[in-house]
């Protein structure tokens, strides 16, 4: 019983963080593409900012994944 709950918790941590991050990254990427389409000359700067923003969001999923690994280790 205990183990089952831990396993579900580990799965939930990863899925919930992944869902949230996917939504956020999707919005960011689509806006960046809009911006590039509207103003192709600024593509370089936009790409740099995009990578940074995506990495900062990515970090949240990574934290979730670390927690999930820790939980899996406890089973």
């Amino acid at each position: 019983m205990e183990k089952g709950i831990i396993a579900i918790a580990a799965a939930l941590v990863l899925t919930l963080t992944a869902i949230a991050t996917a939504i956020a990254q999707g919005i960011t990427a689509s806006r960046a593409m809009d911006a590039i389409a509207r103003q192709p000359e600024a593509a370089g700067g936009i790409r740099g900012a995009l990578v940074i923003a995506l990495a900062l969001m990515e970090a949240l999923t990574i934290y979730g994944m670390l927690v999930a690994f820790m939980l899996v280790g406890k089973i």
Binding site: G48, A55, E58, I62, Y63, L66, F69
Partner: protein, 227 residues
């Protein structure tokens, strides 16, 4: 995969595979840069050409976020960060790394990335103090002054969270990649891990870029004069 496999110990110091492979990477890099700069010529040979190209690319990359003046002054430390991280990341793709004794991907160990984070922390603040003077740099954390009671603790906490998030991001990505590859290998040994390894060709470069880009943004924030 194992981060605690101690090879041998010198007194109280335990030497792990990660440490050994880090020294291996350092030796290889030293040898390469020695060979590339041994006989500098006007018409470069292949190795010198490669090194010049790498330095030029890195310079233009850091000049974007730091500005040319500060980039020239502090280029060595940023380039060192980048080259060390990217070579460590790609070392995880060599056959046998993680399974053989004495070979482990350095950046997939939290101790290494935490060390890099600590160095990044001190780099930011030492450069900040050097460029702006201790007093003005310290005051910059309390700006705007009419909100200093509110802003000071927030800014200080942020300064300590930054190296932590740098370290955790790099570690999490590299360790996660390794684990996923291993899981895929267990599901289907032939071909399946290749999917993740091709992806990690991209991710290794991206993580090295993100680490150094964030560091250079932090430094440029510490250096710039706010009005």
């Amino acid at each position: 995969m194992e981060h605690t496999n101690v090879l041998f110990s010198i007194g109280p110091l335990q030497v792990t595979s990660t440490v050994v492979s880090m020294w291996g990477i350092i030796l290889v890099l030293t040898l390469l840069s020695y060979l590339a700069t041994r006989k500098l010529k006007d018409v470069p040979g292949p190795l010198q050409n490669l090194a010049e190209m790498a330095v030029e690319k890195l310079q233009s990359f850091f000049a974007d976020s730091l500005g040319v003046k500060h980039m020239r002054k502090y280029f060595p430390i940023f380039a060192t960060f980048f080259i060390f991280i990217i070579v460590s990341n790609y070392s995880g793709l060599l056959p046998g790394v993680g399974h053989l004794k004495g070979m482990a991907q350095p950046t997939a160990s939290l101790s290494v990335t935490a060390g890099l984070g600590v160095v990044a922390f001190f780099t930011t603040h030492i450069i900040g103090v050097r460029e702006r003077g201790l007093k003005r740099y310290a005051v910059s954390f309390a700006k705007p002054l009419y909100l200093c009671v509110l802003m000071l603790p927030l800014n200080l906490i942020e300064q300590f969270i930054r190296p932590m998030s740098l370290a955790l991001r790099l570690y999490g990505n590299m360790y996660g990649e390794e684990t996923v590859t291993e899981q895929l290998y267990e599901i289907f040994p032939i071909g399946a891990p290749l999917i993740m390894q091709v992806l990690s060709l991209l991710f290794c470069l991206l993580q090295a870029l993100v680490f150094t880009m964030l560091l250079s943004i932090y430094v440029s924030e510490a250096v710039e004069e706010e009005e």
